[in-house]
Symmetry: C2
Subunit: 521 residues, 2 copies
C-alpha cells in the first residue's frame, strides 16, 4: 500500500493527538501541577520536541529515553519522540542507576529526558551505561530551551509495524528484556482501552498508574484519542487522589490493588460525587476491596496483561447477569482475569504438549495470547523471542485455568516472578544479587503473600562454610544493586530443599510461608 | 507478516462475533419478531450459513447478495458470507427489479438470500440480471434448510485489505457504482462507531437504519463487537419504535432526520425512560427537531459520511463548552457535519486547484477525506476510482466550508444528487428515465426543499415538437423503471435555461423553487 491509494493510512497512536488538536483544540489536555496545556498546545509542544530532538541529531529509529514521574513531559514524549521518527524508552523511576544504566546501554539510547527530581539518578544511570547520552533536564535551561525555538516536526509513519517504543520488563533471566512495541499495536490497544473504559471528551483521567508501565497501558494515547484530560500525579498520595476525585471531576483512573487498598484505607476516603471508572491490574482485587470500592462509588474492572501485550489484553468483562448474584459470588467472578479485550486475537490455555486444556475451571495450563496487541518480539534477543512464540501465540509464562464461561483465571506463574505492589520482581535477579555477596553460597527467592503489596520477595540463603552475615547486611547489599521493591523483606538462613537432580524446590519454600499465614519474619 | 509471527492478526470485523460468542455466549444477540438468538447461536448460525454457501460452491471472493428488511438473516449474512470467504452485497429493498438486476449483474452475484416478503422482487431482479443465481428464500425450506445440516465454516482472513462487501451507490453517471469495502476499514469503522456511540454489553440497538445502507454504517459489526442486542425493525413504524423504547430498553438507534421527524410527530411520542443515544445522518437535523428530540430524552449526534467512507466518517463531536450557549446557537453548531471520527485520517476542503481553502466559515470548496475508512475503489471501474482519488484523498463531491473551529459544514453538492428521506437520488438517472419517454426532448431534475423528506426530486421537461404528455403520465413512466423515491414529485414543462455553451443552468431552476418557498406544484 502507498499513501497515494485510497483507503489506507498507516496506523500510529500519535494520529490521535493530531486529530484532538483540531477537534478539542482549546480544551485542557494536560494538567501537571500549575501547568495546563490545551490540545493545541500539546500538539505544538510535542511537535517542537520532535524538532528539538532532530536538532540533536536524533533520527528515525534512534532511541530516546525518559526518566520522570507522571508529568507533562512524559505525555509530550509519548507523542514528540515518535513525531521525530524515534523510539521511546520510558524508564521505571524505581530502578537503581545500575539497572537503568543497563537499559540505556541495551537500548542504545542517544538522549535522556529527565525530570528535575531525578537528575542525579539519571546522570548516574548514564554513567553506568558507559554511553555518550545527551541529558536534557526538564527545566527552563534544558527541556524548555530545547522546545523554545525548535521548528515543529511530524515525521510520517510509513510502516505501521515499525518500532514505536521499547518497554523493559524484568525477565526470568535476571536481565531486563526490551519489549518491542509497534505503532499498529499501540494504536489498536489505545482504541480498545478508550472503548472499554468509556473515555470521552468529558473524561478526566487521573494518572495513578505510572506512565512508564507499558506506556501507561497505552492510556497515554487513549486519553488523547478521547480528548479527555491527562491529570498528572507525580506520586501516589491518597489524600491528593481523593481531593482530585472530589474537586477536579476525576472520572477515571487505573491502579494496582496495592494502590486501591491504600486509597480505601485513607482518612480522606469519601464516596465520589459521581461514579469513577477504575481499572485494576497487576493482581486480582479481593472481594473486600471490591466491596469497599463500590461503597465509595468507584466502579472497578479487573484487567490482566503483560508488558509483552501492551498492558491489558484481557479484561474481566462484567456480565449484566452477575448483578443477580450474592455479593461474594460477584466478587469471585470479578476477581478473575477474564476474556480478551475487544481486539480479541485469541486466548488459550495450553498443556505442556501445546494442547488446549478443557474449559473446566480445574485443569491448569499455560496462558497463551495472540493478536495485534502482542509485541513484535524482544529487542536484540531472537532466542528469547523464539522461546515465547508458539506459531504466533505468545506464551505468557502464567499458569491458569479456563472456566466454563470462557473466563481465564490465573493460578500461578511459570516464570519466576514476584509481583509486589504492581511491580514485577525477577527472583533470578535478586538471587544473583544475593550470591554476589562473598558470604553467600546459594540463594532462592520466592514471593510471600502480603496484605498491602500483594506479594513481597523473601530470600532463603545458604552461607559459605565459616561465613557470617546478618539478614540486614544482606538486604543492604542488595539495596546497593537493585531497586528498593526488589529487596527481600526477610532473609532466612539454612539448607535449601532440592530435587534428586539438584533443582531447588521453590514450591516447598512457598508452602512453608503460606502455612505461616503469610507473615515472614 | 505471517500468522506465525508475534503481534499480527489480519483485521476483520467478523472477529468481533467470534469473541462475543465466547464473552457474551448466552446473552441475546438478535431479536427479530419472535426469534431470538444468543451470541453463541448467532456464531453457530453464521458459521453454518458459511458452510451452506460452500456447499453451493460459493468460494473465496464470490459475491453473495441479500435482499431483505432488517432481520436476523441480514445480521447473519454480515458474518456468515465473509466466513465463507465470500463478498456481501446488501441490496436496497426500495429499488426496482430492473435496478436490482443491474447490481446483481455488475456484482456477478452467484447467490441471492431473499426475505419472504420480497421473493417476487428478488426473482424478478434475478431475471433482469440475466444471470444464473441461486435464490435462497428465508423460510424453512430455503434458508433454514441450507443452515440445518451444514458444517460450520470460518475461513481465515489472510489479507485485511481484501474485499469484504460491495455497496452500491447512486452515482452521478446514472448507473450505481459498487463501492469496495475492505476488512480492515470495516473493522476500524466498527470500533470507531462502538466508541463514539458508547455501545456496550448493556446496549440495545434498534435497527431503524437500513442494514443495507453501508452495512448499517458498520453497526452490524459494531453492536456485535460491544455484545449489545440487535433489535431488528422490519419497517419504520413510529408507534413500534416508541413501544420498543419504552418496553424493551432501547439505548441506541440511528436514523435520517426524516425518520426522526416522523418519530417526534407521532402520537405515541413520550420521553424515553432513560437517555437514548441517537445518531442522525443523511441530512442535518433542524434546530426545531433537535429541541423536540432533547425533550423526549433522545440525545442526538449528527454524523456525515458517504457509501465510499463506510458510512459516518465525520462526526459533529459535541463540545462541553457548547452547553453554555443559547439553544439556537447550540443547534446551529450541532447541525454542522463536524470533524473526522476517531479514525481521523484527515479532512480537507479544497478549491478547484486542489489548494486548501481558508478555515473562515465562508470560502466554499470540495470536501476531501482520507483514512482507513475510505473504500479501496469502485468495483470494475478504475476510471471512476481515479476520478475521485487525489493523491490518496477521496474527493466527496460535496461542497462545504471549514469553520474556524475546524468543523466542516456542507453547503452544496458538486455531484448531481438529491437526498430524499436519507436515500440518494441520482438526478442523471432520473433525467435518463424521463428522456426515454418518446414525448420528452430534454429533462433536468433538481432537489426541492421538503419539510418531511429533506428534499424531493422535481423535473423540468421540454417536450418534442408536437408531443403531448401529462405530468402524471411521465411520473408513471419513471415509476416503471426506478424506485418510488426517485420519481419526481412534480413535473414542469417549458424551455430549460442554458449557458451560452448549452449547459443547463440547474442553479436557476433551484433558485426558482426556493423563491416559491419550497412548495413545488
Amino acid at each position: 500500500m502507498t499513501a497515494a491509494e485510497l483507503g489506507f493510512v498507516a496506523l500510529t497512536p500519535t494520529a490521535f493527538l493530531r486529530r484532538s488538536a483540531v477537534v478539542f483544540a482549546d480544551r485542557t489536555a494536560v494538567v501537571d501541577g500549575d501547568r495546563r496545556w490545551t490540545y493545541r498546545q500539546l500538539l505544538d509542544r510535542s511537535a517542537r520536541l520532535a524538532g528539538g530532538l532532530r536538532r540533536l541529531d536524533v533520527g528515525p529509529g534512534d532511541r530516546v529515553a525518559v526518566l520522570a514521574p507522571n508529568s507533562a513531559m512524559v505525555v509530550e514524549a509519548h507523542h514528540g519522540v515518535p513525531f521525530a521518527g524515534a523510539v521511546l524508552v520510558a524508564l521505571n523511576t524505581r530502578l537503581t542507576a545500575g539497572e537503568l544504566g543497563y537499559i540505556l546501554g541495551h537500548a542504545e539510547a542517544v538522549v535522556l529526558l529527565v525530570d528535575r527530581s531525578l537528575v542525579d539518578l539519571g546522570r548516574a544511570a548514564v554513567a553506568a551505561s558507559g554511553r555518550t547520552i545527551e541529558v536534557i533536564v526538564a527545566d527552563d535551561d534544558g527541556y524548555e530551551a530545547l522546545l523554545a525555538d525548535a521548528p515543529p516536526l511530524v515525521e510520517p509513519v510509513d510502516d505501521e509495524r515499525s518500532l514505536l517504543a521499547l518497554n523493559y520488563t524484568s525477565g526470568t533471566t535476571g536481565k531486563p528484556k526490551g519489549v518491542r512495541y509497534h505503532h499498529r499495536g499501540a494504536y489498536l490497544q489505545s482504541l480498545a482501552m478508550a472503548f472499554h473504559s468509556g473515555l470521552g471528551p468529558e473524561s478526566t483521567f487521573l494518572w495513578t498508574l505510572p506512565m512508564f508501565h507499558c506506556n501507561g497501558w497505552c492510556f497515554t494515547w487513549a486519553v488523547t484519542a478521547a480528548g479527555g484530560v491527562h491529570r498528572c500525579l507525580r506520586a501516589i498520595d491518597p489524600g491528593e487522589v481523593w481531593r482530585a476525585i472530589h474537586d477536579e471531576g476525576v472520572t477515571h483512573f487505573d491502579a494496582a490493588p496495592t494502590v486501591l487498598t491504600m486509597l480505601v484505607a485513607d482518612p480522606a476516603a469519601a464516596p465520589a460525587p459521581a461514579p469513577v471508572t477504575v481499572a485494576a491490574g497487576g493482581a486480582p482485587p479481593s472481594p473486600t476491596l471490591l466491596d469497599r470500592m463500590a461503597a465509595l462509588n468507584l466502579r472497578v474492572t479487573h484487567l490482566y496483561g503483560l508488558t509483552e501485550t501492551f498492558g491489558p489484553s484481557v479484561i474481566c468483562e462484567q456480565q449484566p447477569a452477575w448483578r443477580g448474584l450474592p455479593a461474594a459470588e460477584q466478587a469471585q467472578r470479578q476477581a478473575r482475569q477474564g476474556v480478551p479485550n475487544v481486539l480479541g486475537g485469541g486466548l488459550r490455555v495450553l498443556d505442556d504438549d501445546g494442547v488446549d486444556v478443557p474449559a473446566d475451571g480445574a485443569t491448569l495450563g499455560q496462558i497463551a495470547l495472540r493478536g495485534n496487541n502482542v509485541m513484535a518480539g524482544y529487542h536484540l534477543d531472537p532466542e528469547a523471542t523464539a522461546a515465547v512464540n508458539r506459531d504466533g501465540w505468545f506464551l505468557t509464562g502464567d499458569l491458569g485455568v479456563l472456566n466454563t464461561d470462557g473466563y481465564v483465571e490465573l493460578k500461578d506463574r511459570a516464570k519466576d516472578i514476584v509481583i509486589s505492589g504492581g511491580e514485577n520482581v525477577s527472583t533470578v535477579e535478586v538471587e544473583q544479587a544475593l550470591c554476589a555477596h562473598p558470604a553467600v553460597s546459594e540463594a532462592a527467592v520466592v514471593g510471600a503473600p502480603d496484605e498491602l503489596w500483594g506479594e513481597v520477595p523473601v530470600a532463603f540463603v545458604t552461607l559459605r562454610p565459616g561465613a557470617d552475615v546478618t539478614a540486614e547486611e544482606l538486604r543492604a547489599h542488595v539495596r546497593t544493586r537493585l531497586a528498593g521493591f526488589k529487596v527481600p523483606k526477610a532473609v532466612r538462613f539454612g539448607e535449601l530443599p532440592k530435587t534428586s537432580t539438584g533443582k531447588i524446590q521453590k514450591y516447598l519454600l512457598r508452602a512453608g510461608l503460606t502455612s505461616e499465614r503469610g507473615e515472614p519474619t
